[in-house]
Symmetry: D2
Subunit: 331 residues, 4 copies
């Protein structure tokens, strides 16, 4: 299934070099002001074009196909389509003999019997994160002005100065990974549940839907495993739940505690490195060298923050609806 959410439900579809990519979002309250322009800032943030990102240029204009009338949501499912125009599929057809390491080529052929759309990663393409960003724009609007979801690069290729990390990658002519941190301010106490609907469970579920993410940690995260209890515990200071430290990252017992929600994710290096690689040639059955052509990001992590904000906002909007903190009809 390509869907997520209980009351704010997001379905993604499309292929990189097919007719389109798009998203269907069910459960959005009626009356929320919404126009195509609302999507542009976040779509622009996601776009390639700057140093270290793909030179493929798409207009990425969101076409609102349903659920919006007179610039407001209607309460019916919202469908947003992005047409694919700037496709160079020929780049990919000749590559089928080399299932690219780090890409889904090999597993897709095994799973879908060779019927998958293999062009440009097909349904596995990072281009589908357009859909997540679009859903995130709506989710952020529902969260309102008092709740701020912010993600930023904190490390590229192991270097805290992202600019320097990228320069090092360009110099090395190889792709690099990175760390992205997301914080959410202004959340009420009480979102989430123990066990399967913990805030961590839901956010992690959504976050690993972003291609290239290989790890997530909340608050002190992996560092917590090296801490002692007294050091790690966050003393509660007052009746608003404010804590002296925030090693928990804003979630206790699976539930938001009124402090800043904080988590970090690890993004692997772009699989399509400019370096020559070796891997199986499925026709010859031999391991051979090959090079990935096409247009790719050197550091895909650079484009992740807005996507990370989007999936986080999706989860939180759903939980806010469940806790009846977002009305069914928007005022």
């Amino acid at each position: 299934m390509n869907a997520f959410g209980r009351l704010f439900r997001v379905n993604v579809f499309g292929e990189s070099h097919g007719a389109s990519v798009g998203v269907n979002i069910d459960g959005v309250p009626a009356g929320l002001p919404l126009t195509a322009e609302d999507f542009l800032p976040d779509l622009e943030r996601r776009k390639g074009g700057s140093r270290g990102t793909t030179p493929r240029k798409e207009d990425d204009l969101p076409h609102l196909k349903s659920g919006v009338f007179n610039d407001r949501t209607t309460g019916a499912p919202i469908t947003i389509l992005f047409e694919n125009n700037n496709t160079r599929s020929a780049d990919y057809e000749k590559l089928r003999e080399f299932p690219r390491p780090g890409h889904a080529d090999f597993v897709a052929t095994e799973k879908y019997g060779g019927y998958e759309d293999y062009r440009g990663g097909g349904h596995f393409s990072g281009r589908l994160t357009l859909n997540l960003v679009a859903a995130g724009v709506i989710a952020k609007k529902l969260l309102g002005d008092k709740i701020n979801v912010t993600a930023r690069i904190t490390e590229v290729g192991g270097i805290a100065d992202a600019e320097a990390g990228l320069e090092a990658a360009i110099a090395a002519k190889d792709s690099v990974g990175g760390i992205v941190e997301c914080t959410v301010d202004g959340l009420p106490i009480g979102l989430g549940e123990p066990f399967f609907d913990s805030v961590e469970s839901l956010i992690a579920h959504a976050v690993f839907a972003i291609p290239a993410v290989k790890g997530i940690e909340f608050g002190a995260g992996f560092a917590a495993a090296k801490m002692k209890g007294l050091e790690h515990n966050d003393p509660i200071l007052d009746k608003t739940g404010k804590t002296a430290t925030n090693h928990a990252g804003g979630v206790v017992g699976g539930i938001t505690n009124g402090n800043q929600l904080v988590f970090r994710i690890a993004v692997k290096p772009t699989s399509s490195t400019p370096k020559e690689q070796h891997t199986l040639n499925v026709k010859s059955g031999e391991v051979e060298t090959f090079s990935v052509k096409g247009r790719h990001d050197l550091c895909i992590a650079l484009r992740v923050p807005v996507v990370l904000e989007a999936v986080t906002a999706m989860v939180l909007a759903d939980l806010m609806l469940q806790e009846q903190r977002i009305p069914r009809v928007w005022k």
Copy 2:
């Protein structure tokens, strides 16, 4: 909701000091041999009693209340109940004025209006991991002999030698966290889907249902963020999909690739440290010092491996059913 899974669906319930904890598992194929004895080894592994774990002793006998007949599953939902006998609720009643740092006391009262069962953590208690272990036993049986799910402690309190880490904690009279690694051998290629049903999404979702988990990483995980593409990519060596390295941790594009599935989780230090702490006294409105009484684990991570295996097996059994690799009637 306290449920997870599409075709192998697990519902957990119960409270630490209530009548019972239990689990309802729907979707188990008919005909699987199953007796109460099958649960004992994993339940025993989960139990407290050794150094660094709680001295609370419960029989933890699984009562099969439905879904099993003549020592085989019937295809109907399976319900397993564990009675609570060894409860000392008085330990907790006097503590209500101090919402314990790191515990759900404060958020539970905010969320449930004070109606929550606060005794021993109530529904938030680690005792409910009994349910996960029980579900995991059935899931492991469905996975069969060729698929092996194994978790082990790799670090306690920042020390790779778990024994030494525990001794350090005992000496320091404080609780400690730890790292647990889980590997799965023998998985077929093709479990999982891109985006929301990625293997990472589903496992992370289930894993964060385990209390005290604060991070998860697959394969190279956070280290991948510091790697270059050529280094990180796993060259495919042959038509079985075997790769030269396994930085992906056995999952590419959200789908198992036939290599070992590997991931690690970070477990925070037990919140109930023996140390004196300070936190809000909700009656006085002042920050005061207090001590947690009751019976607690010094290092909860020590009890996590069998629980981690269980939730992993749950996810994999569900995916195997979806891929039609486990039959509807067991042979």
Copy 3:
């Protein structure tokens, strides 16, 4: 799956002659007053013992195993268990060679490979409607005093006077079917959605979970198919949505319209008729005559009203939660 509901989610389990039957209900708001006594009136209504119903007597005492503390719901999943004491399984074991017409014996063996618990219908037994009734008691409490769900027998064996219909059946020494009508007063406008979450879709889904139901119609129902538009349309009279007639049965476009919700269901004759029948003997492979032994209802429809109220209340409570008309914490 043996579960239903989005925010008020009911899981049923158990077997007629197994250890127990029971129900797990997730999503119930915290703070709702609830004791075992609350269940007794509706359980009593469901019970056999009067003329035309089974002489099997069970105490049917609800055991609250989780989710209730100090006589209030806690917000955690509620599990209710009914022990089976008065079982006479030997009645059934000898019958296995005759898969009883109208019963699930034959299909269960085909589907579950013979591993099903066949005693007394096993998991298919009408005894599991205890679970539905129990869930319904909680749902009714959530609906509050202003919303009244009422079901009543309107026909037995084709005779509008139920008493007379039952007498005719007793005289004929055969089982009979019946019609049950359910009305709901006090519903707000706006529950349900067009298409798959229409009120009719959800109620029909839940209603066909009751064994022996073979038809459902809303408002004018099948009679509407014979009507003309002008006759069938319900003119709206005022701004509260009150209509002059109620052929729609209180639902338009899948959504409640503020008028009385009305629907009727058809209940087939009890399959276990006292008459001698003929059917396949699976051992001999021949069609032979046989008689159903055991203790059975002559008219199962007589016991359906309280079950019908229960599943209706379940659906409505879920929709009321979705429309934020029932709070997350009960006041």
Copy 4:
């Protein structure tokens, strides 16, 4: 939510006079041959234009926006879009003061705060049944040649000869309802489950998603309520499960029994009758007379059979996938 299905999951969206209507179908196995032409016969059957149906003409060409590559399904979600070209919205704008009886106008405004797209019924429009038909085409292909889903009109305006019933309606200048019967031949034994996943529950759920349906009955249906047990029971004749009669309609205990699946639905008269009606004028607050303009079907039931086949096929394809009788990769 506007979605239905567990493994074959259908999401409908769109508005009658908006940009488009469409459907997203997730879970379709890879490799199924599929082209736009495959949809035309069933879309043609659904179309208006003949006597008694709307003169509105749309091309109704399905645009495959995702999930199909080289004329085969890829295993990724399939999105099908139908553009709206032939809209005359002005017909509707002036009608807002009269919420049309039998239509969703009044409840939609109450539920969605007036933000709904009211033109031509908006999201409530029968035009969205295009989506159901499209999903049904795929479902039917998955069911294969051996399973035949067939629906036909059996009654119009209370007259068994549909042609005569329609003539009577035309003469009376009023709309009429009708009965549609659906049969499915070739089903295996074992689809469905007792209680909430009974075949009746699932089909009824899907069927009431079709606008104007007000009743459903399986097998003998409402007539069963008047029958005696011996008469109603279907004796099993042989080991294939063939029964002498089929009062059960092919479902026992919620599970298909290998006989023909039979059910009937009641369709109400088209709410948009040509007759002058009276209803509330929401501006004046008075009950006034008015006439529905626009282009409408005199007997909507005439267009229902292909839609009924579609939703039935959807449910059955899902159950066949669950029972592993449809492979994950199509051969």
